[in-house]
């Protein structure tokens, strides 16, 4: 795998427009490389016959990330950017809708916080509702109901038939 500056990325038409996002991503990769390098110094090393201790691979990864981050930074500064991934459900002509991303993110955070207090069934129904809403579904009545039924079926199937433990939460008094 050659590490030379790739020439096969898409030169954006109205170059050089620098994308702030690309810039931030390259800085993120650099920061990650820095973190791995810093972390590698904190791994304690015991004597071993291999002469290659627990720090060797971390340093390799850190060096690789720093190099890639630097090359990405150069690309970002030059305004070279790669095209986002295409897909059947994806329309690249519309500007990214970060509100939808935020709604999903919020649903996931809520799920983590409420899974154990509320129980699997209710938390999952909420997650289902939130994600469906982020995808633009506005059938307020249907979505939470579908989520609730789905979660209930899954819950019963897995706790009863397979003996898995899932949090019952607020539904515990119902004997579920």
């Amino acid at each position: 795998m050659s590490q030379s500056v790739p020439t096969d990325t898409q030169q954006s038409v109205d170059a050089p427009t620098r994308s702030v996002g690309d810039l931030l991503v390259s800085l993120g990769v650099l920061a990650l490389g820095g973190y791995f390098a810093y972390g590698a110094f904190n791994i304690s090393v015991a004597q071993s016959y291999s002469r290659v201790g627990p720090r060797f691979f971390p340093f390799l990864v850190a060096a690789g990330l720093l190099l890639c981050g630097a090359l990405l930074l150069v690309q970002a500064l030059r305004g070279t950017t790669a095209l986002p991934e295409e897909g059947e459900d994806v329309d690249l002509d519309v500007p990214p809708d970060y509100r939808a991303v935020a709604v999903i993110g919020a649903s996931l955070v809520t799920y983590v916080l409420l899974l154990e207090p509320l129980g699997f069934v209710l938390a999952s129904a909420l997650l289902f509702w939130g994600v469906a809403a982020a995808f633009g579904s506005r059938v307020w009545f249907r979505d939470p109901l579908v989520g609730l039924v789905l979660a209930l079926i899954v819950y019963l199937a897995f706790t009863r038939l397979l003996g898995l433990r899932l949090p019952a939460g607020m539904l515990a008094p119902l004997g579920l």
Binding site: S50, P84, E85, D97, I104, G105, L150
Partner: protein, 494 residues
């Protein structure tokens, strides 16, 4: 043919009504649990162990084998349809499989996976029947240096996953390698990059990473750029079934996948992922439709799926002949043998021929049952894609969360899943391919441990990697795999 007679006796055991019932129960249960990420065959067998304690061992093992094979089928179904691999061996399947499903070719993808699994499973079981002792002799010659060289060869797969930008692909690979470093270093017991979280000491689970990057990341990304209005996605295009063309393009990958999968699965430290990687890279190289790879090439489903199932049978070689468990499921089957007071190993074939040959016969039967069960379901499964997008993605996230949580009943795992999912979103948004990260995460730790083991045994002498013939051969192959695409244009220019 001594083995043939014993096998016939085995069929006599496996074809009794109760044992057929256990096989059917096993494959059904296996398919169901294989569908969920996290809840794999290993966990299922473990949960059923106490229940089967009082059953007859032959019936129990026939059921366990059914769960094992069924799990492989179930895993590929969700990989293809929902881009949510149920376990690490079906990650590669999702690359081309999901693309096919999105193009309305989900039926053909599922069918080639099912038939390929059947072909590979049957061939590999036949190999298990007749050449198991031979395989073991070869497998035991593999030392750490040879394994390291094998990992290097598998790493060349990444080259076929890089996407349009080498730089971005390599960055993704490094991210995966970095994630693979998290946890206790096996060789020295030192913690690395655990952020002080005790749960991180065991490392990040690769299934969580795959589901996070593939399924959760995709949900974020699609939501951000949802195609509004008419959905021009047709769940079915050009018939549910495989076309003549599909058959023509599938049968060679099935056979090649089986040939790769069985011996690599039989290696004590091989695992089922490596043959799927190698099969994918090989099919891409050999295919006349190379441009189609990355957009839903059927060879990219047929080969890895066959390799995956052949490897599953290969894993039984060291288990039955040496008592060597080489996968999580095999480890639990070993525990099950011990629960019944049986000691797997060289003597098992003599002490319990009924059990061993009944088990092997039931593998043939289980495979056939899975094919019969799954082919009619293909049409039904494909209908999953008729579900409106909001409900489909909501359902995927609920299942991803369920599977992840039930791995350890740990909220930390859920947080990991969601954070990695968001990283997956950023990677898609900024055109980084996600597959190299997953490959790096699986191969990185194995390569590192074997590398250091080899050097430790040789007391720091790096020449072991070229002195050992197996290792040298693999390294040469890896060199060729990387060098030929680079050098080919030079020759062509003349």
């Amino acid at each position: 043919m001594e083995a043939l007679g014993a096998l016939l006796d085995g069929f006599a055991v496996a074809l009794t009504l109760p044992n057929l019932g256990w096989a059917l129960l096993g494959v059904t249960l296996g398919t169901v649990v294989g569908v969920l990420p996290g809840i794999g065959p290993a966990l299922t067998v473990a949960l059923l162990l106490p229940v089967t304690f009082r059953l007859d061992p032959v019936g129990s093992f026939i059921m366990f084998a059914g769960i094992y094979y069924g799990g492989m089928y179930g895993g590929s179904t969700t990989s293809i349809l929902l881009n949510t691999p149920g376990e690490s061996a079906s990650i590669i399947t999702s690359l081309e499989g999901n693309k096919m499903a999105r193009r309305g070719r989900g039926g053909a993808a599922l069918a080639t996976a099912a038939i390929g699994s059947f072909v590979a499973g049957t061939l590999a079981t036949a190999a298990l029947t007749f050449v198991a002792p031979l395989m073991v002799d070869v497998a035991l010659r593999f030392g750490p240096a040879d394994y390291f060289a094998l990992m290097v060869l598998a790493f060349t797969t990444v080259a076929s996953l890089l996407g349009s930008s080498v730089l971005r692909g390599v960055t993704s690979l490094l991210l995966g390698l970095g994630l693979g470093l998290v946890g206790i270093d096996l060789q020295t017991g030192q913690a690395r990059y655990t952020l002080g979280v005790p749960e991180m000491l065991d490392g990040v689970n690769v299934v969580i990473v795959a589901v996070g990057l593939f399924a959760v990341g995709e949900a974020f990304y699609v939501a951000s750029r949802l195609r509004r209005g008419d959905q021009d996605v047709t769940p079915i295009r050009g018939g549910v079934w495989m076309s003549r063309e599909d058959w023509r393009r599938s049968w060679r990958p099935w056979l090649r996948g089986s040939l790769l999968g069985f011996p690599l699965g039989a290696l004590p430290a091989g695992g089922a992922e490596i043959p799927t990687f190698l099969s994918y890279a090989l099919e891409k190289r050999l295919s006349k439709n190379r441009a189609e790879f990355g957009h839903g090439a059927i060879e990219g489903v047929a080969g890895p799926e066959a390799a995956n199932n052949a490897a599953a049978a290969g894993v039984l070689v060291p288990l039955l002949t040496l008592g060597l468990p080489t996968s999580a499921t095999a480890a639990i089957m070993l525990a099950a043998f011990q629960q019944f007071g049986l000691q797997p190993g060289p003597l098992l074939f003599q002490t319990s021929p009924d059990l061993v040959w009944g088990l092997i016969a039931s593998l043939y039967i289980g495979n056939a049952m899975l094919l019969v069960l799954n082919l009619p379901l293909v049409g039904l499964w494909v209908r999953l894609l008729f579900i409106p997008r909001p409900l489909l993605y909501a359902g995927i996230l609920v299942f991803a969360a369920l599977g992840t949580y039930s791995l350890n009943n740990s909220v930390i795992d859920l947080i990991t899943l969601f954070v990695i999912g968001f990283v997956g979103f950023l990677m898609r948004r900024y055109a980084f391919p996600v597959a190299p990260a997953v490959v790096g995460m699986i191969l990185g730790p194995m390569a590192e441990q074997q590398f250091r083991r080899a050097l430790s045994i040789s007391q720091g002498d790096p020449s072991v990697f070229v002195r050992e013939p197996i290792s040298a051969a693999f390294l040469a192959l890896a060199f060729l795999a990387i060098a030929t695409p680079l050098l080919a244009p030079l020759f062509r220019r003349r």
